[in-house]
């Protein structure tokens, strides 16, 4: 009989696993739980955000959690002045990310209200035009980021530069472009949150109204009334489906069936109508193949455009389905009709005209803002970040070729503040005509860090730290991360021998099957037909594999998380936010997933 635990462990009592000593030096000083801040740190409730950051951070990769959290916060605390909530503070502990929502002191709240009304009010009133502006800014940023070009330093400065009297060397731009890339990444994150917080707030308003009017209304019903039909986030997958049908139509399906990407393209080109199909393939790539196999936050994430074997694999699955006579289209008309039906039936159940008017108003606002909530993910996390990682990798390769480290991706073992120094080391050696120091310094240091990261990965993060508040109040914490008071209490009560796990009912349906625990995108091909995917977190780009599987179970995630949106769209039962499913379930185990009620049963 387990005793009732009222608080979680303190970070100061959560030691690093063996072999990870010295891990703190891998991350910026302000992200560590410091001994001299212990009292203050222990007074806060921290939860592990394994939904966005399920793996141990390589030093460079903290750029995303830093930028994302800071920028989320700025809109609450400095732009829109959300009255009761500031931002979310964050730390790195034992290689994982922990967060704490920051509330505004009660005496400061009233002063923020008029500011909020004016600023948020302006955005709600001018949503469409501001959004169009946003799209222009993002496109311009993407274009600029894409144009940055990192090249190895030449043996001699080009003759044209002499003749043109340039008076500068290529290291100038090399160093400046690195800083520019970081700056553009920072700006992208600021754009990311420009509308997001307001989008969630408007959704929460409608959500709260529905919960009040219809006690026990399923969360999913509310989501269904608001969710969009044509969503950019699903466009990459829609393109693959289109290309699959086209392949069968043009008679090139056979040529596409097997082989490497290059061999396949050659085979298709040789087919009678192959060139027609290839033209469409090229069109689909920009921008829709700027799609990450992960969530866009890790240097290890693979991008479709750089790994065409990934979309090609999904395409092959779709072709098989088309040839079997299956309808692979998302039933848009059906989805739209169902959304109408649900909306009308709930509206009819309201008891007064005032209620119906309020319902209509809040729903309209929620539907206005929701496309951004759904789509921003593609533009920032996928498209922008794909390019960002590509550039960083290229830089990494240049330094690898210069002997700084064995593999291009080793650059990500450096903190972002260390890269300018390494770059100058490279520039300096080149400039003075001597060997750079890097090749002597970095390989061993990176090896030391690699071992630390590996050691940190042997231990899963504890779900939370210190004493949870009586009530979780910060709205984004609830909505996005699915961290509610209920969920926290369930974690607290969690038993190691559970035969039943509970989580968020992210997508309806009930199914039984064999579990496959997947820890990363590289393991996706192990999934067999009809198996149930069990993982810490899914990524939207895994959607094509959902055609094969029977259900999805994740450790952390709210019903507004990208994975939940995708599962609902693809009609897959899903339970998210179980806390520890990926640890408690083993591959090969038979489980039952009840997405409607958020229950996973180990059979």
């Amino acid at each position: 009989m387990s005793t009732q635990v009222k608080r979680f462990a303190s970070p100061y009592e959560d030691p690093a696993p063996e072999g990870a000593e010295g891990w703190e030096s891998l991350y910026p000083y302000f992200l560590i739980f410091r001994e001299d801040r212990r009292k203050e740190e222990e007074s806060k409730f921290w939860f592990c955000d394994a939904q966005h950051w399920p793996n141990v951070f390589k030093p460079f990769d903290t750029i995303h959690v830093e930028f994302a959290c800071k920028c989320l916060g700025q809109y609450n605390a400095r732009h829109l002045m959300i009255p009761p909530a500031n931002g979310v503070d964050y730390r790195v502990h034992n290689g994982y990310c922990y967060m704490t929502p920051l509330a505004v002191a009660p005496e400061d709240i009233p002063a923020r209200v008029p500011l909020f009304l004016e600023r948020a009010g302006y955005y709600f009133e001018n949503w469409q035009s501001l959004l169009e502006n946003w799209h222009r800014k993002i496109r311009a940023l993407i274009d600029e980021l894409d144009e940055l070009d990192f090249e190895p330093l030449p043996d001699v400065v080009p003759l044209e530069w002499i003749k043109e009297g340039v008076g500068l060397d290529p290291t100038t731009d090399l160093i400046a472009d690195y800083h520019r890339a970081i700056e553009l990444c920072y700006k992208a994150y600021q754009y990311h949150f420009e509308f997001l917080n307001l989008g969630y707030a408007a959704y929460l308003d409608f959500f709260g109204f529905c919960k009040e009017s219809f006690p026990d209304i399923p969360d999913l019903a509310i989501a269904r009334m608001v969710q969009g039909i044509q969503v950019d986030l699903f466009r990459p997958d829609d393109e693959l489906k289109r290309l699959a049908k086209l392949a069968v139509e043009l008679g090139v399906a056979g040529a596409l069936k097997e082989g490497s990407v290059d061999d396949t393209v050659a085979a298709v080109a040789a087919a009678p109508r192959g060139k027609e199909w290839l033209a469409e393939w090229e069109l689909a790539k920009e921008p829709w193949f700027n799609y990450s196999s992960g969530n866009g936050f890790y240097s290890t994430d693979k991008v479709w455009l750089d790994h065409l074997d990934i979309p090609l694999g999904f395409l092959r699955n779709y072709i098989e389905q088309v040839e079997r006579g299956e309808n692979i289209d998302r039933p848009l008309e059906q989805v739209a009709a169902e959304r109408e039906r649900i909306t009308n039936e709930y509206r009819e159940l309201l008891v007064s005209d005032e209620a119906r008017e309020a319902f209509g108003g809040k729903l309209t606002l929620a539907r206005t803002v929701f496309p951004y909530v759904e789509n921003h993910n593609f533009y920032i996390e996928h498209w922008t970040m794909s390019i960002f990682w590509r550039k960083m990798r290229k830089l990494g390769h240049i330094l690898a070729d210069a002997g700084f480290w064995p593999n291009g991706d080793d650059i990500f073992y450096l903190r972002r503040d260390e890269i300018p120094v390494a770059l100058f080391d490279y520039a300096n050696g080149w400039g003075v005509g001597a060997e750079a120091c890097g090749p002597h310094y970095w390989p061993a240091e990176i090896e030391r860090r690699r071992k630390i990261v590996e050691a940190l990965e042997t231990k899963r993060p504890i779900p939370a730290m210190n004493e949870p508040p009586e009530v979780i109040t910060e709205p984004f914490t609830i909505m996005l991360w699915g961290i509610t008071t209920e969920r926290v209490n369930k974690w607290l009560a969690g038993s190691e021998q559970a035969t039943e796990l509970t989580g968020m009912s992210a997508a309806p349906g009930e199914v039984e099957g064999i579990a496959r625990v997947v820890l990363g995108a590289e393991d996706l091909d192990q999934l067999q037909e009809g198996e149930i995917l069990v993982t810490q977190v899914t990524a939207p780009s895994w959607a094509p594999v959902f055609a094969k599987i029977a259900a999805v179970v994740t450790d952390i995630g709210g019903i507004m998380s990208h994975a939940a949106i995708v599962c609902r769209e693809y009609g897959l039962p899903a339970v998210t936010g179980t806390g520890s499913a990926s640890r408690q379930i083993a591959t090969g185990q038979r489980i039952r997933v009840d997405g409607t009620n958020g229950i996973v049963t180990l059979l």
Partner: protein, 362 residues
């Protein structure tokens, strides 16, 4: 004179002749809902029976002679009237009509001797505003024409149980105006059965369908003989939002040998098994929703899961009547008349923690 009216032919306009139960079943059948077939023994048959035996006068005399508050005297009066109805000869025309109707039903269902339920369908019962329900009798698993006749008589007689006499007296109903129709309906061998309401009877919430269910025939649920499983279903999504599985200690099943329904203890290991799967709950909820839509007002229905339905839809509708409590109440006191909209509303939402609201509602 029409002594028999098949359910298919019963319309709301026939209420006075077939009673509320049959009229309702008829309209539901016509709406395409799955209702076990059967027929009504009309009030004409009842009237003819009483008139042929000169019973109207006799009954009037007996009633007038008794003080309804005198329990013993009432009992005696009731027994005497019922004895008369149950033993006096049924006029040949009436008897033949009933036998033929029963035979036709057997042929239509492809069964030699079809087990049927014989239920009273009083002309004042089931009407909104009156709740005579339960004042008259129900007989289950009746097999063979003889047994049908016997139990039709008993239903006729049940108009004059002491309870019924007393109730009508208290409510100010004139005894003679109440005529009896009897519903003879194919018996469903229920694996599970129960009731469903198209609102939450606890709070009047119309966005829900609430189902009580147990094993065997639904009379255990209706009669409160068992603590049933309870399911609260969202009406729009047809999703189960709350589920309570109760220990069901007894069930009513058909004893095919004895040709009757018998009460049987449920083995301990089965008592906590859900009497409905989630899919079946949804099917019952879907049925209730359709019935409500048909009638245009909240309904209180009885349903059963037919154990004999192999390839066909197993959920059948046995009865439906308008819900009486919440439908007639004035608007809920919790209805707000003012709502914030726009940014003011968004502000309120941000200021009032959702989680706090959730907790206080739990």
């Amino acid at each position: 004179m029409n002594y028999i009216l098949s359910f298919e032919d019963c319309r709301q306009g026939d209420l006075a002749r077939v009673g509320g139960k049959c009229a309702s079943l008829g309209t539901l059948l016509q709406a395409g809902l799955l209702v076990p077939p059967g027929f009504a023994v009309t009030t004409d048959a009842y009237e003819t029976m009483l008139a042929a035996n000169d019973l109207f006068g006799t009954i009037r005399k007996n009633l007038d002679a008794v003080d309804p508050r005198d329990v013993e005297a009432l009992e005696g009066c009731s027994a005497s009237i019922r004895g008369l109805i149950e033993t006096r000869p049924i006029p040949p025309g009436v008897e033949q009509a009933i036998r033929t109707a029963y035979l036709d039903l057997c042929v239509a269902t492809g069964t030699d001797e079809l087990p049927v339920a014989v239920r009273s369908s009083a002309t004042a019962e089931d009407l909104p505003g009156a709740s005579f329900a339960g004042q008259q009798d129900t007989y289950l698993w009746i097999v063979g024409a003889e047994a049908v006749l016997t139990h039709v008589r008993r239903c006729w007689a049940s108009l004059y149980t002491s309870r019924a006499i007393a109730y009508r007296h208290d409510q100010g109903f004139d005894g003679e105006a109440v005529l009896m129709s009897v519903a003879v309906q194919k018996m469903v061998r229920a694996r599970s059965a129960g009731v469903a309401m198209t609102l939450n009877p606890v709070n009047g919430d119309r966005s829900k369908i609430v189902i009580d269910s147990s094993f065997g025939l639904g009379e255990t649920v209706v009669g409160g003989l068992v603590t049933p499983d309870n399911f609260v279903v969202d009406k729009v999504m047809l999703e189960v939002v709350r589920r309570t599985i109760s220990p069901k200690h007894v069930e009513l099943v058909a004893d095919l040998h004895e040709r009757r329904a018998i009460e049987r203890q449920i083995e301990p290991e089965r008592q906590l098994e859900a009497s409905l799967t989630l899919d079946e709950v949804k099917a019952v909820a879907g049925l209730a929703k359709a019935v409500e839509r048909h009638h245009g007002c909240p309904q209180d229905i009885e349903w059963a899961l037919d154990a004999d339905a192999v390839d066909t839809e197993p959920i059948v509708l046995l009865q439906s009547r308008p819900e009486t409590v919440w439908s007639q109440a004035s608007a809920e006191p919790t209805v707000r008349s003012e709502y914030e909209t726009g940014i003011t509303s968004v502000l309120s939402t941000l200021m009032n923690p959702l989680a706090a609201k959730k907790r206080s509602e739990a």
